[in-house]
Every structure is written in C-alpha cells, then in structure tokens.
Amino acid sequence: MNKGWIGFLASLALLGSVWAQRSDTIVIAQGVDVTVLDPNNQLETPTANVLANIFDTLYMRMPDGTARPWLATGVRAINPTTWEMTIRQGVKFHNGEDLTAETVKWNFERVIDPQRPLRISNSWANLASVQVVNPTTLRFTTRNPFPVFVTRLTGFYILPQKYVTENGNRYLQEPVGTGPYKFVRWVRDQQFELEANPNYWGGAPKIRRVIFRPIPEASSRVAELISGGVDIITNLVPEAVNAVRSSGAAEVRSVPSIRNIFIMLNTSGKADSPLANPKVRLALNYAVDKRAIVKNVLGGFGQPTGCPLNSYIFGYDARSCQPYEYNPTRAKQLLAEAGYPNGFTMTMGSPNGRYLNDRQVAEALVGQLAQVGVRVELRVQEWSTYVGQILERRIPTDAVLLGWGNNEFDADNSLYSLFYGGTVRGGPRQVAFSYIRSVPLDNALLQAQRTTDPEQRKKLYLDALRVLRAESPWIFLHQQEDLYGVSKRVDWKPRPDERLFAADMALK
C-alpha cells in the first residue's frame, strides 16, 4: 500500500467517525434491530427501547421499580372493578395533535378490539369498557378485579388517534408520538435516527440527535465502543469487561436486573423420590455456594437470592428472600435425615446462551452438589427445544435451569405464573410451570389477584413467600445483572427495566 492510498482510506475512516461523534449526537448499539413501529404491537426489549423515546406511556417505571404518573396524572380505584384516570393537559403529539381523554379511550379500544388483536392485547383482556367522563377524565370498567392495572399502564403507549385513523397503515412508516424524541428515519439493519422534540411536555432533552444501531456480534459491539464509534452498548459479555475497562475510552456500568435465575425441581414425583421430600430440597439449597457462583462464573455481576422475587417487585419481602446460607455439612445432615446418607442421582437441564453464562452456572452446580453426594447428570439443550418441553410439561429432567424476568414488577407475574398449582376448588387450572401443589399457597395467590388493596395484597404475598420458604421447591440462585459498556463522555445510569431513554442521558 502506498502512502496516498492509506491516507485516502484514513480520511474516509475519519469522516465516518466524525459523523458519528458529532458533539450533539449519541449512538447506541443493541444486538438486534427494531421489528415493528407500533409500540402496542410488540413485546421485545430492543424494539421497545427505541420506540419508548418516541411514544409516552400513561405511567412510567422508575429506577426503583415503582410506577409513577406520566401521561396520566393519576389513577384511583373507585371499586374493585372500576378505575378513574386523569390525563395530563396541554400535551401535544409531534404533528401538533392534542392529547385528550378521547385519544386515550380510542387507544384502549384499539388494543381490546377482538377483530384485530395486537401483541399486548392479552394483557388487557380483563378490560371491559372505557368511558370519557370529561375532557381530562376517563373511567375504566374491568370484568374482574384488576390489581395490576396501574403497573400495566407502564407498558401502554399512546398513539395519535387522528393521525393513525387518517393515514391508515402509513403511520407505521413514520411514527408520531408525544415523547421526547421525534422519528427521523429508519433504515432496516442499519440505523434508527431520532431528533429531540424541543416542545416536549417534560422539557426539551439535552441530546439533540440519537442513533440506534443494531450490531449483532458482541465483540463487534465492544470494538465499536472502544474505538468511539458508538457510545452505549447493551448485553456486554463478562469476558469483555476487562477490555472495556482497560480501554480508557469507556467503562462498564451495571444494574441488578429484574430477572432471577433458579433451578426448578420436579417435586411432583412419588413420595419416595428424593425431590418430593422438602428436607432434600432444603439440603440442595444449603449445598449451593451462590456467592462463589456469582463471583467466579458471573464475574461478580449478580446478587444471590433466596426467593423467586427481588427488591424491584411489589410483594417482595427482604426477610423471606434472604439467600440460604452455604452450609454443606448441614446439607449432608439433612440428606441423611431424609434417608439419603449417600446422596442420590438426578438429571438437570440447562439452556446454552439464553442467560448470562447459563451453562457454566449449571456446570458449577454439578460440581457443588457432588460435594454433598448428589450426582447430577447435566443435559444442555438448544433454547427453543428446551423451552418447548418446559411449556408443554414434557420435561425429561428432574431439574431445569430457568430465568424469569417479571415485566410487570408485581409478585403476581412471578408467583402465580410459576407456582399456582390449581388446588382451589372452582379456581383456574394449574399453570404450566407449577410442580408444587399447596392449598395455602394457591389460596393466597388467587386472593391477591382478586383484591385491589395494596396492603392486603402485600400480606397475601408474604403468606405465599412463607409457604415457599418452608417447602423450598426450587434451588434459588441469583438475580442477574445487566451489563452495559458506556463511553466516558456519556452521563447515564442503566435502569432495571432495560429501557434506554435518551432523555435520561447527557454528554459530559
């Protein structure tokens, strides 16, 4: 290569990076691209992360996990099946359209329209009707008590009624919302460009231009971050932590995520099968050194847990969720008491690559359980086969490693979905995930679904957590942490709901 040629290439490269590094622009790289532009017709984190900058929700998830009024200014329960909502005044969509109670009503009717179900419609199946009381007030009627009404509002985006109805499906090409950023353009698999909305009701955002780039390969994302091509990368792998830290250009920022990782045990075997015995299950919990796993397998990015919930979730109780101590002596003793002084053999399944170092976590468990005499045969499977077996209750192993990310931040989403055993007379059938069958547990979970009083619900979930503590139906492992690589020029803290709100960001 002669010098001229190198110079030419270098100047082109420079041009590229200058273009990306303009002082009023931030570039964010996620693994995959946006799929659809209707925020109420998707359930994917990367898509929601982009669209949540254009559209506002009625309530907003706060970094501590609570929900705060947003486009709605408040919601109150009039009775267990009726809610009244007030709407923020003076909010305008990017095209100048006003936000009114009528707009909100139209949005809900669009979602619950049985003729054209959207991806979020299922969450609102309980909603019977919406009435406009006056220009800023609405009344919602539900079929059954709906305690998760407010928390679900954090995932309900408001679209402009006139624009959508007048443009038919064209609104899907140029989305218009009330959010802090306006849509500029989207080139599939290349970039999604946003521009600050100077008239945003919450105040104009600090960064003028935001670009989302899909970069599928984890190491390419890291290379782009270190070279300054992008400012924020998601899903940083623990192996790349040192490379980012030593780069001088970027740093690693993490936040405990809403997702808990655990081993689901098949407790439904015959009375003489080891896992049907609560003593054995308790022993397994004592036999696992969660701190060592977090430290050595997850690079320190995780928190040991002792229950299916975590502190973001409504219904969490610190005492009932204390991690089980690591005590192999006690574990052996319990096994002996249960009639297994020489341990036993079991099988365990694990996905590979679905959760942070999932297979490695499973391998570490195999080693630790062997210390107390429990011989585990590990079967690693590809995710879609794995999850299919779990959903259809055709699980070939005695135990499975699984994670649960509670997108409602409410105990109902975790506890009911995972443990409701269908023992209540006239109640719903057992859900796919539950192995354990406990009448007090099922009663608490069902009652909590049917009351809207938060204090009463908290008490019911406390009851449920106590039953779980006594039964130890799973091996509780850890709460995962989400890792991000962030350029040093960016002022931003990651959030537990994984959202990437550009309005929260600033350039130093």
Partner: protein
Amino acid sequence: MAAYLIRRLALVLVVVWGTATLAFFLLFLSGDPVNLLLPLDATPEVREQFRKANGFDRPVWQQYLSYMGRAVQGDLGISLRNQTPALGLVLERMPASMVLAGAALLFAVVFGVLAGVIAAVRKGTTLEFVVLFFALLGQSLPVFWLALMLILVFGLELRWLPISGYGVGPLPGLPALANLVLPAIAVGTFSMAAITRLTRGGVLRELRSDHVRTARAKGLGERVVIYKHALRNAAIPVVTVIGLQLGNLLSGAVITETIFAWPGVGRLVLTAVTQQDFPVVQAAVIVFAVLLAVINLVVDLLYGVLDPRVRYA
C-alpha cells in the same frame, strides 16, 4: 441453442421448486415457533390463538399446498417478527449483499489472478513459496476469526477503517467505501486463495504448451505471451470457479455480515433462523436458489464466449 436454453430454464424451475419444498419441510424439524415467539408467561389460550392466527394448527400438507400456491404468485408469507412481507424483507437487503459479494469478488479475482500468475511465472522462487503459503492460509482460516482479526488490527489498533456498519456512501443505497473494505476482504479471502491456486496451475500448464512455445519462438514479448496466450486459455476453469464462488460469496456471507453488522441477506437469515421466523428463512432460501441457478446458467453460457469450440445442443 434455443432448445438448450429452454431445457436449462426448465431445470432452473425444478431446482427452485425442489429447494422451496425442502426449505418448507426442513423448518418443521426445528421446533415449535409458537414457543419461541411468545413470552414465557403467555397463557395457553394466547398460544392457541397465535397458533391458529398463523396457521400452525393445520396439517403440514395443507400448510405446504397453500404455501406453494401463494409462492407461485410471489407471496412468500408475512414475517412473524416484522409483520411485513417476507419476500420484501429479503429483496430489500439484496443490494447490500450484492455490493459486498461484488467487492469481494473483485478483490478475489484481481489479487487471485495476479498472485496466481506471479506464482506460475516465478516458479521455484521464494516468491512462489510465499504466495502459495498465503493461498493455503487463505483457504484454511475460519472466516469469523479472520473478520475479528481484521477488526482488531485495522479498526481498533490502527484505526484506519470503520469497524462495522454500512456507512453513508457516495450514492444513495451504496455503502461508504471505507466500510466496504474489511468485510470484502473477509468474504473474499477464501475465493482469492482458490483463484490463486487455480490460476497458477492453469498458467503453468499453458506455459509448457506448444502454442506458447510458438508464441515465444516468433519473438513475442513475455508479457503478451503470459497474459494473451497463457492466461486466456487458463481462464476457463477459473471462470467456472468464479461463478461458483459468486454463489458462495452471496449466500455464504452470513457470518461476515453478522460480525460487520452489514445489512445484507445473510444477516437477515441468521436472525430469522435464531428467531424461528419461518417465512423469512423460506423466502431467502428460495431467492438464493433462483439466484444460484441463474448464475450457473450464465457461467455455462460464458464458456462459449471464452472457448469457441464449446457448442450448445
């Protein structure tokens, strides 16, 4: 010639039909898409509704017939993820894949032929050894490793070239030249090595032949002898390989496109496979089948141009 063309075109149709059928049935071996597309906490009712809405509840042969019926009309289904026509998604990414394949091919042919000729002419020298060493290396390096090394060296250490993405090119729809360089090298290296070895062999054979001896005897310059007399004749197998390589370059860029975040079909296919987006995978397979069949036909026709002795019947 006309009869030959018609026969070949009919064969193209058979190949495309066979591929489409294969693609349709193979995908059913890979698991239930409903489980992958819906979140873990979706209720059984929702799963059933989704299964119905997408036609996954019907017998496979029914799904096949209606699939083929629609395919003939150019409707290859709606992407489950993007909720837009699958064929559109594939065609939309075709230009990026073609630009990359074209650049890689250009790189492979120019450097491959050049290196091959050099190795043949300088037979027995250290230069030949070096060329052959790199040709062997080029054919043995895994593409993903080469791609990552290129990023590490030219993107991260030297900072000469962008690491990923399409960039903004001189003309709408075209990539920035700087963005094209690394992916093109990564994709083209294997083909370049193949062309180098083939060209070397061909030229060596021709250099020993009678007509080259005659050309030399009548006093032609060495340059003319090599490029006009030896290379022209050595070109036929090289053209075959270039044709085959073009197919490889187009369809085989899955890993490279993913690593360099190149907005091509390969990356679309990989995403679609991991997300079990049936229609997109099927559409891509069919489009590639058509493309490869046409490329092969063109290569066959090109023989006639290069070698007047070839007749079509």
